[in-house]
């Protein structure tokens, strides 16, 4: 049993931290890119991004003015249930965290018919799935509008295969990179169904840079896409250079015999996420 309030407390505590601190793996990758980037302008952009990470930490100011929508993904142990109204508790936690930490409210009430700001940055976008074991794993991500707008979904012909996925991802990322605040972290989902493949691509962004993919074929494919994206010349902030993306992360899944769904979730340089383990009570 896990009270909804326990999860909400973690959300309220964690949201301000991730809004103001760059993920360790992203910071390390950015430092490495600073050493490798051959373009002077590109290096100046990366220098500003490194200074930004330091300034955000020191002044407890958000890394980016777009403090995003909040995604909370609860992986619930198979022996657990959540007691209480999870959505309500998380929304209250998000509203308090955004107010107290001085984060920007960026959510409107309805996409089409009521674009008034809800003034609380709610609703949060909450998913619950199950996993083996006890307790719960709570993932959180703040996703900015610019990079989310640069994301896409393709239902490819299965005959296009690996080359088709490569072409779709590379051409899409190169077309959209500039407005998504590069250097990027590119999340790719392949498989599942029309509705599940985008979530796969978002989950791919949670994996720390420098950690291994599911297997060697995935790793090789990730490297191939990264190599191609970084030869585009787009570079840091889209102002020219070789560091358009820090990493490409791919998650694959089963799918229908007639399908080859592909989703690209473009993660900006202000990649804000965290994972918290919650013990059962």
């Amino acid at each position: 049993m896990i009270p909804a309030a326990r999860i909400a407390d973690e959300v309220e505590r964690t949201v301000p931290l991730i809004a103001t601190s760059l993920r360790d793996d992203v910071l390390e990758a950015l430092q490495a890119a600073y050493a490798d980037e051959p373009s002077e302008r590109g290096r100046e952009v990366i220098r500003q991004l490194l200074d930004n990470a330091a300034a955000a930490c020191e002044r407890r100011v958000p890394l980016c003015q777009d403090t995003g929508t909040v995604w909370v993904w609860v992986e619930l142990g198979q022996f657990e249930c959540i007691e209480g109204d999870l959505q309500g508790a998380v929304d209250d936690a998000v509203a308090r965290a955004y107010e107290h930490a001085g984060l920007r409210m960026s959510v409107v009430a309805d996409a089409l018919f009521d674009r008034r700001n809800t003034t609380t940055n709610t609703p949060a976008f909450v998913d619950v799935t199950s996993r083996p074991g006890k307790g719960a794993t709570v993932h959180m991500m703040l996703k900015g509008g610019g990079s989310d707008n640069a994301s896409a979904l393709f239902m490819l012909e299965p005959s296009l295969g690996e080359q088709g996925v490569f072409d779709a991802v590379v051409s899409h990322v190169c077309a959209k990179a500039t407005t998504a605040c590069p250097p990027l972290l590119v999340g790719v989902g392949v498989g599942g169904t029309f509705d599940t493949v985008p979530k796969l691509s978002k989950k791919a962004l949670l994996r720390p840079i420098g950690t291994r993919a599911a297997n060697q074929r995935v790793t090789a494919f990730e490297q191939r896409v990264l190599h191609a994206v970084n030869r585009s010349g787009i570079g840091p902030a889209g102002l020219g250079g070789r560091t358009t993306a820090l990493a490409v992360h791919v998650l694959t899944a089963p799918c229908h015999i007639a399908a080859l769904p592909v989703a690209v979730n473009v993660g900006c340089i202000a990649m804000r996420s965290a994972m918290i383990e919650v013990e059962p009570s």
Binding site: T20, P38, S39, E40, R41, G42, E44, V45, Q48, L49, D51, N52, A53, A55, A56, R59, R60, V61, P62, L63, C64, Q65, D66, T67, G102, L103, R104, M105, S106, N117, T119, G146, N149, T178, T179, C181, R224, H227, A228, R231, S232, G233, I234, G235, P236, A237, G238, L239, G240, G241, R242, C268, I269, A270
Partner: protein, 199 residues
């Protein structure tokens, strides 16, 4: 050797200090790719702000709130912490303002600040009006916010982060992305660094 020295001098060139609002002659001397530090007054305006500015412009024929000769910064800041003049503030995607920008430049806005490539219409409007478009680094809003020394809401407070605000900048880092002679850094810089995919 002389060529090498020239290249080094070019690469190590100090950023150009630009005081805003600037005379047309100052802006016309800037070239795409120049690194600049912006000082002085700019006004924030995002999507909803643009709709209102353009509606006022159409109604009265002039730019509202003294925006004649001024600079628009496409940004919606986070709230300032107590004791600080500003929170995090960084550029939003300029392309979303492209539909309105030529009319605003024609009416007397002299420069814009944002991120990302612009439309051909905006590039031509910069040439026509001797205007420039500055690119600031997206995702560097804590750093850019530390260059804001004063901020006040000028109009439409009900728009929250999209209200028209007057900011005073001290050395905000940016690059000239569109200049008054048709130069476009977002088009030229990636071409310079592009490589064939070798597989």
């Amino acid at each position: 050797m002389a060529l090498l020295r020239q290249r080094e001098a070019h690469q190590m060139r100090e950023p150009i200090r630009v005081a805003l609002p600037a005379e047309k002659t100052v802006l016309e001397a800037l070239r795409a790719g120049d690194e600049v530090r912006l000082w002085g007054v700019v006004y924030t305006a995002r999507d909803a702000t643009h709709e209102r500015i353009v509606a006022e412009l159409r109604r009265s024929g002039v730019l509202p709130y003294g925006l004649q000769g001024q600079v628009l910064f496409y940004a919606g800041p986070t709230p300032a912490r107590p004791g600080l003049p500003a929170g995090a503030i960084g550029p939003t995607t300029a392309r979303r303002m492209d539909a309105w920008t030529p009319a605003l430049l024609d009416a007397g806005v002299t420069a814009t600040i944002g991120k990302g490539a612009r439309s051909e219409e905006v590039r031509r409007a910069c040439v026509r009006n001797g205007a420039v478009y500055f690119a600031a680094v997206g995702g560097a809003a804590a750093l850019l916010g530390s260059c804001v020394v004063a901020a006040e809401v000028v109009a439409w407070p009900e728009l929250g982060t999209e209200a028209l605000m007057r900011l005073t900048l001290e050395g905000l880092p940016a690059f000239v992305a569109l200049d008054s002679v048709g130069g476009d850094l977002y088009a030229s810089a990636p071409r310079e660094w592009q490589m064939e995919v070798d597989e």
